[in-house]
Amino acid sequence: MEPLYLACGALLLTAVLVLWRRELSVIIRVFALQGAALAVLVGVLAAQENSAELWAVAAGVLVLRAGVLPYLLRRALAGAGEAQRETRPLVNVSASLLAAAVLTLLAYAVSQPLVELAPSAATQAIPVGVTVVLIGFFVLVTRRRALSQLVGFLLMDNGITAVGFLTTTGVGLVVELGVSLDVLLAVLVLQVLTTRMRETFGGTDLDELRELRD
């Protein structure tokens, strides 16, 4: 069971690191690391169940979440000016870390019924996945740069994927493929929109998104 918990620990740690660091290039690297941790998690489960299908999924997760998505983020960052390379959180770092602690407690409280339904080593780790989802949501609502919001969205998605695998019952290959494809497409769409925002607003700071309101 050790490797499983190690992978979950890495998942949680990388999520907290995203809250802690300010430079977007570092955040993207941390995000890639988290993708790798997720792939390890799936790999551990594959070894346990000795399932070729899960091994293939683990490889897919590694390519998509530690390779393709970080690459897309880096490319979006390369197009950004010097001024846009740091996040400008609405909430300062120490308060963010405190919030992460509260969110972890909340995740443990909320996911209790899930653990109780089928207690096992894997389901014991579900709260970690839920914590990553909540931290991702927190990043999404408290960050001002378009790119940081994108990272928050992807963090949420990593957490959801982790929960999906920890509940051990894969959602079925068709759905799994559809989900991965949708995430990839959503990121591509958002990347194109970031470029367009840069063209029309001169930056991707969401403070400038003030045209539409009542």
Partner: protein, 484 residues
């Protein structure tokens, strides 16, 4: 076979636009494909009401009466929107706001949009429903941002971020529900019919988490409070045919997913849980729409907030859950779809003629552009639920069902909010239609596509004579109804 037509034909239409672009010969391809979808929906409805649910592609696609009804809505509203598209683009290209390439890409994406919506309502598996609903966000993202102005790019960004986040919650809910099904006595998996049939065996604690996540997630896409913030921006910035489709069908397709989840929730947790959730969201949506419509200055945003109102009403009908309430809610989906499509298309025409989307910038429409003023005026009358339009019948049905189901106070509150909204809509609209014509715009011939008149007519006819529709609605609501 009829199951594949509503998905396959629009995909084929998209290919045609991809290869041949936008030219004289392809102008009516979109409308033709929407027409075929509508015809297939009718055929499907007949087949389903005669011989029960049909399924195909190894059980991945399945249609019961509810699915057939939803395809009918997609086909009808799709036909109105695509039939008005050629006229819309003629105006845009003349004004230099669009090129032939924009029109081709627009038509391609709209066809894919229709196909993904059809897939969402025909999928037998909750996971596939999820994939299809998320796919609608992806194909419409560039439609919302089509004009590439500051405002439209901002709207597209908000749209994708908020909807993808909401739908991510629904994914988590799907996974949790799958977990519950795997540890229940019934068969595992996410097949909707199986889940509904074996719902009583699901673990209540886990199902509760799943239902909250699914209703919140799909509720985002349906424009229900609290995650509605993308809707007024996206609907006001998208080109008119896309606004018509998003408001007229996309919202109700997302709500269809909630209806499916509600059946499972009712079976596993009793009717009280989903009802409480939906009543809260419905009343919050109504209150929000009312408060933002009172001082509204932009007529496209006015229509967008009115969509939040009507989806709130549909959610309220679903919350009541009696056969009458559900029938009325489904009829409301169709009536609202038709009326709102006509209104958004008329609003698009008004925007082309006057160059402003601000209410105070438009006056004396009746004198200057009588045709479009007529469709807009009658559309608003339909929207506020005046007879003979079908929204009158459905709102009456929801109200009656609410009082008999013991939700009297909530129903009274909802009706009060609907009245406030009606007053706000009337006062804004009369300012636009009547009054002295503004001197800025020149009088030009402004023919209105026949499709708009057709949509209004259909909405009115439905209110008087529903034909064979009640049979289908009866069948559709049977598996949904709460047995009290």
């Amino acid at each position: 076979m009829t199951l594949l037509v509503p998905i396959g034909v629009p995909v084929f239409g998209a290919l045609v636009h991809l290869v041949f672009g936008w030219r004289r010969a392809t102008t009516w391809v979109s409308a033709g494909s929407a027409g075929v979808v509508l015809a297939a929906a009718v055929a499907l409805a007949v087949q389903v009401s005669r011989s029960g649910p049909v399924s195909t592609v190894a059980g991945l696609l399945r249609a019961d009466a509810l699915s057939a009804f939803m395809v009918l809505v997609i086909g009808a509203v799709g036909l109105i929107a695509t039939a008005a598209t050629p006229a819309y683009f003629r105006g845009e290209i003349e004004a230099g706001r669009a090129t032939v390439r924009t029109a081709a890409r627009h038509s391609l994406l709209v066809q894919l949009f229709l196909a993904t919506m059809a897939l969402a309502v025909l999928a037998a598996n909750l996971g596939v429903v999820w994939v299809a609903v998320e796919a609608t966000t992806i194909v419409t993202a560039f439609l919302v941002g089509q004009r590439r102005t500051r405002a439209s790019v901002e709207a597209a960004w908000k749209y994708v971020v908020i909807c993808s986040t909401g739908i991510a919650l629904a994914l988590l809910g799907t996974i949790v529900l799958n977990f519950a099904a795997a540890h229940a006595p019934g068969p595992a998996g996410l097949d909707l019919a199986t889940l509904a049939a074996h719902a009583p065996g699901l673990d209540p604690g886990v199902t509760r988490i799943a239902v909250v996540l699914l209703v919140l997630g799909f509720g985002t896409k349906a424009g229900l409070a609290p995650l509605h913030a993308w809707l007024p921006d996206a609907h006001s910035q998208a080109p008119a045919p896309v606004s018509a489709l998003m408001s007229g069908v996309l919202l109700s397709v997302a709500f269809y997913a909630i209806l499916r989840v509600k059946v499972i929730s009712d079976g596993a947790l009793g009717p009280g849980f989903a009802r409480t959730l939906l009543v809260v969201m419905a009343l919050a949506s109504l209150a929000l729409a009312a408060s933002l419509l009172i001082g509204q200055r932009d007529y496209k945003r006015m229509l967008a907030y009115s969509s939040i109102e009507h989806l709130g009403l549909v959610a309220f009908g679903a919350a009541i859950g009696s056969p009458l309430a559900l029938t009325a809610a489904l009829l409301h989906v169709l009536g609202h779809g038709l009326a709102k499509a006509v209104l958004f298309l008329s609003a698009g025409r008004i925007l082309q003629l006057t160059g402003t989307s601000r209410i105070e910038g438009v006056s004396g429409l009746v004198a200057r552009h009588p045709a479009v003023a007529t469709t807009f005026g009658f559309g608003v009358l339909a929207l506020i639920g005046l007879p003979p339009f079908s929204l009158f019948a459905s709102e009456l049905g929801i109200a009656r069902a609410g009082f008999t189901a013991g939700l009297g106070w909530f129903t009274a509150a909802a009706l009060l909010l609907v009245l406030v909204i009606a007053a706000a809509l009337i006062s804004r609209t009369s300012r636009m239609l009547l009054g002295a014509p503004s001197t800025s715009d020149t009088r030009v011939a402004s023919p209105v596509p026949v499709a708009l008149a057709g949509g209004l007519l259909a909405c009115a006819v439905l209110g008087i004579f529903a034909g064979p529709l009640p049979v289908l609605l009866d069948l559709a609501t049977q598996p949904l109804a709460v047995t009290r």
